[in-house]
């Protein structure tokens, strides 16, 4: 099991982590101009609104870039793949990629979200689309 640092939840990202606990991948959409944002910021840079709606995302996307994270000075920490995911809604999210061997990872591959508890922290994770449990 990798070591997971728990998020320090604050005003601007509390909705996201509450969603993760319920198994939902959420993003903020501006109530004024409908601009979707991730990471969220407290004011919409497009229209200046501070009111937001929460949008449940499809959880589908493609792999934009990735690394194999295996810290050289902490060999006891299990390795994992860190992924930058381009979601179908047009925003990017950093997460982990699981259910695949490193040699098979390719940018552009289709992914879907799953939710897991890693080291006591509820996190969204991604796996190749169509992979069964």
């Amino acid at each position: 099991m990798p070591h997971a640092v728990a998020p320090t939840v604050d005003h601007d990202d509390e909705f996201f982590w509450n969603g993760v606990k319920e198994g939902r991948l959420l993003a903020r959409r501006c109530a004024g101009c409908q601009r979707l944002a991730h990471p969220p910021s407290p004011m919409c840079p497009q229209c200046g609104a501070v009111e937001w709606e929460v949008l449940e995302l499809s959880g589908r996307g493609s792999l934009h870039s990735w690394i194999f994270s295996r810290h050289p000075s902490e060999p006891d920490d299990a390795a994992r793949i860190v992924a930058l995911v381009e979601l179908d809604e047009g925003i990017r999210l950093v997460s982990n990629l699981c259910g695949i061997e490193v040699d098979a990872v390719k940018n552009g591959m289709r992914l879907e979200v799953v939710f897991a508890e890693i080291d006591g922290v509820a996190l969204p994770q991604f796996r190749p689309s169509g992979v069964e449990d």
Binding site: P2, H3, A4, V5, A6, P7, T8, V9, D10, D12, D13, W17, P39, P45, H64, S65, W66, I67, F68, S69, R70, H71, P72, S73, E74, D77, R80, V82, L84, R92, L93, V94, S95, N96, V102, N107, I118, V121, L123
Partner: protein, 381 residues
């Protein structure tokens, strides 16, 4: 519109040795570098009335004044974004002296980054909420954060870690003939690079990473008219600017539409070329901030020294070596000389223009010092 360009100069440089364990306080390193720079300019500590450093620098301005003997200062400022703001220190200092807010400004950066707090270690302790998007997934070191950006570039252009290694070999070759470098007389081969351990697979090996160093550097900036009366050869600040963008992040680039590019550096470059009328061909030496070797590739392309995806061939073709079309990091850079957060590269730029660098590029008249998100062009007055 008024411009900073050509109206300020770097008149003094100073430094400590670059080591892995300085054996003294960060404040002492800072005071030694500042005092050396003031002396190099032929000035006295009371002549200084302004200072600039990094928001991350541990040395309080008042402590520096007390240690060095600077009596009164009417200008202080600090630049954000860590090493990305290294060249912005010169912009701040030039802005102060050109506007009249100060007359003589000292820029300093000093730390025990190897024997004290090491930046490359996994983040722990208090952290900004924005790190919630990265730390829980294991993205907890600068090497990993940058590598997730670099992978897209490698994949798009078919660039390998071996290609990155060709930069590291050049940096260490330059360091090998620079007595000021930690890796003086210790060049590496590409085979040694390829056998160094992975730091972030499959992107960065150990020999792609900058050093961790203890040390301090300082520079003194004043107006160009006063500079002409001082003792050192005139080194002018031809242009200085920053590149901060709305979708940018401090140490990575995940949200711009095309992350195989470096929009902050492209914006910085565009401003430098536009305001000076210079072109890439006019640059004789490029000092390029490299916490990790791939960032050199991004910056060579952002500045137009080569086209997108062409840095691999540009480097492999020998262009960035001494005697090449664009000698890069002639001191060995942050991989070879030392990691004083990029400011030691600006000191090298001054030496090249004074004509007394260890690896002197003959007749160098213009030096670009870029830290990605900030840059200066220095000229021989």
């Amino acid at each position: 519109m008024p411009s900073l360009n050509g109206r300020a100069a770097i008149v003094g440089i100073g430094q400590t040795e670059f080591s892995k364990d300085s054996g003294r306080s960060e404040l002492q390193l800072c005071a030694e570098a500042v005092r050396a720079a003031i002396g190099d300019a032929g000035l006295q500590p009371p002549d200084v009335d302004g200072s600039v450093t990094f928001t991350l620098d541990p040395n309080d301005e008042l402590d520096v004044m007390r240690s060095v003997g600077i009596r009164e200062m009417r200008w202080t400022s600090r630049t954000p974004f860590g090493g990305g703001g290294a060249s912005a220190t010169i912009e701040h200092a030039a802005a102060a002296v050109v506007s009249g807010a100060a007359d003589v400004v000292v820029v300093y950066r000093a730390f025990n980054e190897r024997s004290g707090r090491r930046f490359g270690q996994p983040m722990s302790g208090p952290r900004p909420p924005a790190m919630d998007w990265y730390l829980p997934y294991g993205l907890d070191t600068p090497a990993k954060a940058y590598a997730l950006w670099f992978q897209r570039y490698m994949d798009k252009y078919g660039v390998s870690n071996e290609d990155f290694g060709r930069y590291s070999v050049v940096a260490r070759r330059h360091a090998a003939t620079n007595p000021n470098a930690w890796y003086f007389e210790r060049p590496i081969t590409l085979e040694e690079h390829q056998s160094s351990r992975w730091i972030v697979e499959p992107i960065l090996r150990l020999l792609d990473c900058c050093q961790e160093s203890d040390g301090g550097v300082a520079l003194v900036v004043t107006g160009v008219d006063r500079a002409k009366d001082l003792r050192r050869p005139l080194v002018t600040i031809e242009a200085a600017t920053q590149g901060n963008t709305m979708l940018g992040e401090t140490i990575f680039n995940y949200y711009h539409s095309d992350i195989s590019r470096f929009p902050e550096a492209e914006y910085t470059a565009a401003q430098l070329w536009r305001t000076t009328g210079l072109r890439p061909d006019d640059i004789d030496v490029a000092m390029i901030y490299e916490n990790f070797s791939p960032i050199v590739f991004y910056q060579l392309e952002a500045y137009g020294f080569c086209g997108p995806g062409e840095a691999r061939d540009f480097i492999a073709g020998g262009n960035i070596e001494l005697g090449g079309t664009l000698p890069v990091n002639t001191n060995g850079g942050l991989l070879g000389e030392g990691y004083i957060h990029g400011v030691n590269n600006i000191v090298e730029g001054v030496r090249q223009l004074r004509g007394d660098a260890a690896n002197q590029v003959k007749g160098a008249e213009r030096v670009l010092c870029t830290a990605g998100r900030s840059a200066v062009v220095l000229g021989r007055g």
